[in-house]
């Protein structure tokens, strides 16, 4: 059977949205299975470049979710995130990347239902788009090299000690 999933990466703040996603699980709110979550301490930790990095690396969609404004566990993190993420969302079109591939939102730890709705809606949004376009070089020897780089052994001496 072909895999009908898309590759969706979620960056969730630990205190609100990750808790909301947990609460949605505890409540057994059914959700699509495409999303994989990276847990962050705060959306303020979210470097907007992670969004583009993920999309260029082959993610079909990126979802960032944190605490509602005013409710940041660290007071101000989501305020910084809001500016940075809005900027990067508006930046995507110049690269020719569909801006609908990226959304950011706020879901509190109490909003299990809302988390279910956010995940479901975003997954549908990504399924309505074709798979993310890829740049041509990420195959063959380059990929092999990357795998090698991931191996515990250093590729060569020149990389050791290099920052």
């Amino acid at each position: 059977m072909p895999i009908l999933e898309r590759r969706i990466i979620g960056f969730l703040c630990n205190w609100c949205s990750y808790g909301g996603a947990d609460a949605a699980g505890v409540s057994r709110f059914t959700q699509p299975t495409d999303l994989r979550v990276v847990r962050l301490p705060c959306t303020g930790r979210m470097n907007p470049i992670f969004v583009v990095k993920a999309l260029l690396a082959g993610a079909d969609g990126v979802l960032v979710s944190g605490c509602h404004p005013k409710d940041c566990h660290y007071s101000e993190g989501n305020y910084y995130a809001r500016r940075r993420l809005e900027v990067i969302k508006r930046f995507l079109p110049v690269l020719g990347i569909e801006p609908l591939r990226f959304e950011y939102t706020w879901v509190s730890a109490a909003e299990a239902k809302r988390w279910q709705e956010v995940v479901t809606a975003f997954t549908e949004q990504i399924h309505a788009l074709p798979p993310v376009p890829r740049l041509p070089d990420d195959t063959g020897i380059e990929r092999l090299l990357r795998e090698l780089e991931n191996s515990p052994l250093p590729i060569c001496g020149c990389h050791a000690g290099h920052e």
Binding site: K53, R82, R83, R84, F91, L95, Y104, L135, D138, H162
Partner: protein, 324 residues
């Protein structure tokens, strides 16, 4: 006092005057670090003086040997310097701005396209409205207006308004005639955005496959103060691989544009510096447009302003709120 005398006078108060001097041929000017009065006689400051000297300032100020540092700047360069002052990366009390009224900067790509023989020229000079090139035993007359950088043609600010002199900064103005102001805006970007998303994606795919990862764009950028610590050449953090990959090349451009969000003054140095002629400045232009739309902010206009991505408002006027 004529301009040379003014600059010599400034040099009496400064340990160095950053200026432009003769380049490798008659069409180019090179940075000149004038330390003695007679160095000032070599200064070139016509359309050939294109490079922003702002990029030299942060490392130069770190040197304890330097006293005050004077820098020759066009109004667009002043914005970069103001942006550096905003981030407290250079000390205002040690800076002397020497501002010249701008007649525009040559776009060498245009010159080379109009006159390929200029590769090995015998002489070149400005004569009224024309750029005159002698090469291959022939003479070319190029209308200067058509040889300027597109940013200069649209530049709304060839003369520096008094309000833009950074607070507390000594500023000396040179004599001269500035060109007439252009209408500003983002015309090149708007034209690019007329393309379909697929065309834009294909455009970058093609353009970035020509990138040779020389990082001239970064090195020319006055706001790239990370210098040797740029993430592009780091393994920790390891944002970019060492592979010759289009993905990583494009990602670097995104990193550069993102790091410049709310900081880029649109000086155009990145595009000018690119030896492959890739219009990387488009990405920064998009960033500047977004920042202007969202925060009503342009970098380098006010030395006391905080760049918008280093601050926030509890309620953002121009961002539609999510959730609840």
């Amino acid at each position: 006092m004529n301009n040379t005398e003014i600059m010599k006078n400034v040099l009496e108060r400064a340990s160095v005057l950053l200026a432009w001097g003769p380049g490798h041929d008659a069409l180019h000017a090179s940075p000149l670090f004038a330390r003695k009065a007679h160095d000032v006689d070599k200064v070139v400051m016509d359309v050939r003086a294109v490079q922003s000297l702002a990029a030299y300032l942060p490392p130069l100020f770190q040197s304890e040997k330097e006293g005050r540092i004077a820098v020759l700047a066009r109004p667009c360069h002043v914005r970069s310097i103001t942006a550096l002052l905003q981030e407290e990366l250079i000390p205002v009390e040690r800076l002397i701005l020497v501002v010249l009224p701008c007649q525009g900067k040559l776009d060498m790509a245009k010159v080379m396209a109009a006159c390929p023989a200029a590769e090995s020229l015998d002489a070149a000079f400005v004569d009224g409205d024309n750029l005159v090139i002698n090469a291959d035993g022939r003479q070319w007359l190029l209308r200067l207006e058509t040889m300027l950088s597109p940013a200069c043609v649209r530049c709304p600010m060839p003369e520096l308004p008094d309000a833009m002199i950074p607070e507390g900064c000594e500023c000396v103005r040179l004599d001269g005639q500035a060109r007439r102001p252009g209408e500003g805006g983002y015309a090149a970007l708007d034209a690019f955005m007329e393309k379909t998303p697929q065309e834009r994606w294909e455009f970058w795919k093609q353009e970035m496959s020509r990138c040779i990862r020389c990082y001239a764009c970064r090195n020319a950028c006055p706001m790239c103060v990370c210098r040797d610590h740029c993430v592009a050449s780091a393994r920790d953090p390891h944002w970019l691989s060492e592979l010759d990959s289009v993905t990583d090349k494009l990602l670097f451009q995104v990193i550069h544009a993102t790091h410049l969000a709310g900081r880029c003054t649109g000086c155009g140095e990145c595009t000018r510096a690119c030896p492959m002629g890739i219009p990387v400045g488009l990405l920064k232009m998009q960033m500047n447009k977004i920042v202007e739309e969202l925060f009503g902010y342009k970098a380098g206009m006010d030395s006391k302003a905080t760049p918008p991505l280093l601050t926030f408002e509890a309620i953002e006027k121009n961002i539609r709120e999510k959730g609840k």
